[in-house]
């Protein structure tokens, strides 16, 4: 993950007060890989949050252009490793990524490109939600559902601060 590794308390609390964007990353046809989308859709339905929301299969270079128009960005993605309470939110560290393939970029690379191309550095976070099943299947596993609920609760508490 392109994050600093530093978890912060109430890090996204000013999301409601600025021009903000949630980017849900994943694929709902791959079971728990749909966590990023499920989170984004739940936030949209709950009307907790009035900023913008987009869904992505993968992050691509043009997303650098997209985020340049925002003050804050929250990337939400499924996480295949193990984290306490099934979710974790971290600050994203902007960096330049050199890879032979540019089909999929990490959040840090998008923020780095945004800085490079548009001289803009939105404050960016990644919310990682632990998933367990990745097969071709629509619907989250039971444990992913639980982790999604925790992530939504965390988000709600943060923006209600």
């Amino acid at each position: 993950m392109a994050a600093t590794g530093q978890t912060q308390n109430r890090m996204i609390s000013d999301f409601a007060d600025c021009k903000s964007l949630i980017i849900g990353i994943g694929n709902s046809g791959r079971s728990d890989d749909g966590l990023g989308w499920a989170f984004s859709e739940s936030v949209e339905e709950s009307e907790l949050y009035r900023g913008d929301i987009v869904l992505r299969y993968q992050l691509q270079i043009e997303d650098a252009d997209l985020i340049s128009a925002y003050d804050q960005v929250l990337f939400v993605d499924a996480h295949s490793g193990r984290v306490d309470r099934g979710m974790r939110c971290e600050l994203v560290d902007p960096h330049i990524e050199h890879s032979y393939s540019t089909h999929a970029l990490l959040p840090g690379a998008i923020v780095g490109l945004c800085k490079e191309l548009y001289d803009a550095t939105p404050k960016a976070y990644i919310l990682m939600i632990e998933g367990h099943e990745w097969d071709l299947k629509i619907g989250l596993s039971e444990i992913a559902q639980t982790n999604l609920s925790r992530a939504l609760q965390y988000f709600q508490e943060e923006i209600n601060q």
Partner: protein
């Protein structure tokens, strides 16, 4: 006398799909042969069988995340025929909206290829360090080009979204027309400058990119003219007047000297003229003109081929650039593989002009979207996709279920051409080399990349798509392998 080797490149990078290259060397290190293998298989033609015909335009576009609109529209044209509607029977509104969608797709796909995949080779050189040959480095060193590339692609994608609901795998076409009209508000977004450039700006930027490639060619013509250049046939679609047409027309093929080998035949007759060969070492087939045979009947398709076969382009700026392009080879067919990039940028300019004209046409805001006809049992839809001629053919039973599906995808037409390009690099770059450098390997990829192959389309496959190069001796023992991780 050294041991014979075989070189394999797997994965081939900065292409859409997963391919592998093997180069076979003899005891003296000379290239014996080279192959471009496509190692994925999906079998879309089979599993679409048994589905109702109206699902085809929606299902088949899932072949690809880069050019789904092309599959959507080719399938829609075929399904139109099944509901008794030929292209000329579509309502003028539906016809315009489909064309607008198609031009937006070609534009964004060409932008993706040129700016994201091909430009690093041109801007930094094929021998540049590997980490430099990426669009990320383009963003750092050539910000203006990178910003233009991003916004030009964005324009196409946003227009697709406005017309089809989503940037990828949206739905616009339905049997006999389109299901959604284009509102004035939606249309006006593309006429004005906002977070995407206006269509007028798009034309200027497209022209600037054609000027860029001409300037680049002036400085690098020795390489661009020679690299992976070879003769072939060329196939594309033209109007009855011989103009380039991406959406509908007649099939024309010419040989390396410019002689007509397929004389503006109706697309519905394609099956009379084409055969597909198979080779045991690739899942991708090898189409050829039946009357010329497997050896002489293969054709290149895509931007270079289309500019070779057409007489004219209907929009003024692109026509002017076509004249310059054709003048460079004195009107003879252009077999220089790297000129594909030049041709692609001329096509982008043409698409920008076409989108401009359609966005100013009041008929695109019309509401007469659908036509009905007498149901038939067969439908054939052929369009010029970004990468070349795309053929969809369906048969249905009395219960409207698909019983047969044949797809000949653009990249498949270019299969022989890409193999020839790989062979050229093997013989001219890798031959007699004791050590194969990373820059040499990249030249194999540069030759393939010029065709902008979509290997997922060609085999109808899915998943991660990398590429590999391996070296075998004359006894077929693997000696060395170059793999990118």
């Amino acid at each position: 006398m050294g041991k014979a080797r075989k070189i394999i490149i797997d994965p081939v990078t900065r292409v859409e799909g997963h391919g592998k290259v093997t180069v076979h060397l003899d005891e003296n290190g000379n290239v014996n042969d080279a192959f471009f293998h496509i190692v994925e298989f999906r079998g879309f033609e089979r599993f679409i069988q048994g589905h109702p015909y109206w699902e085809a335009p929606v299902l088949v576009q899932r072949l690809c995340g880069i050019c789904p609109v092309s599959h959507h529209l080719a399938a829609a044209k075929a399904i139109d025929q099944i509901v008794g509607i030929d292209p000329e029977d579509l309502s003028p509104v539906a016809s315009r909206l489909r064309r607008l969608l198609h031009y937006a797709q070609i534009f964004q796909s060409h932008a993706l290829h040129f700016f994201y995949l091909a430009s690093p080779d041109l801007l930094f050189g094929v021998d540049a360090p590997r980490e430099k040959r990426s669009v990320v480095q383009v963003a750092i060193d050539h910000k203006e080009i990178a910003r233009k590339g991003i916004l030009m692609r964005k324009f196409g994608q946003e227009l697709i979204k406005a017309l089809a609901g989503k940037k990828i795998h949206g739905i616009s076409a339905v049997p006999g027309g389109v299901h959604k009209s284009f509102t004035k508000e939606e249309r006006d977004y593309f006429l004005e400058e906002n977070d995407t450039p206006s269509v007028d700006t798009l034309i200027e930027w497209s022209q600037s990119m054609v000027d860029f490639i001409k300037g680049y060619h002036e400085k690098n013509h020795l390489w661009l003219d020679k690299f992976a250049a070879y003769t072939s046939g060329y196939l594309g679609m033209v109007t009855p007047e011989g103009d380039l047409d991406f959406y509908d027309g007649r099939l024309r093929a010419i040989d390396a000297k410019g002689n007509i080998t397929l004389n503006d035949v109706p697309t519905d007759d394609y099956i009379k003229y084409f055969t597909e060969a198979v080779e045991k070492w690739s899942y991708m087939k090898f189409p050829y003109l039946t009357h010329l045979g497997r050896e002489d009947g293969w054709n290149r398709v895509g931007p270079l081929a289309r500019l070779n076969v057409c007489d004219r382009i209907s929009t003024p700026r692109a026509q002017q650039e076509l004249e310059v392009f054709k003048a460079y080879t004195n009107g003879r067919p252009n077999g220089r593989t790297m000129h594909s990039h030049w041709a692609r940028l001329i096509e982008m300019l043409h698409c920008a002009e076409l989108m401009h004209d359609l966005l100013h046409d009041p008929l695109v805001l019309g509401t007469d979207l659908l036509r009905k006809g007498e149901q038939r049992s067969e439908g054939i839809g052929i369009i010029e996709a970004p990468r070349g001629t795309l053929i969809h053919h369906y048969e249905v039973d009395e219960k409207s279920m698909i019983t047969k599906c044949n797809l000949i995808v653009s990249t498949t037409h270019n299969n022989e051409a890409m193999n020839r390009a790989v062979r050229w690099v093997a013989q001219n770059v890798l031959d007699k080399q004791k050590e194969i450098t990373e820059g040499m390997l990249n030249q194999v990829e540069v030759a393939i990349r010029a065709y902008d192959p979509c290997l997922s389309c060609a085999t109808h496959a899915m998943g991660q798509m990398p590429l590999k190069l391996s070296v075998y001796d004359h006894e077929e023992t693997l000696v060395k392998e170059y793999v990118r991780d």
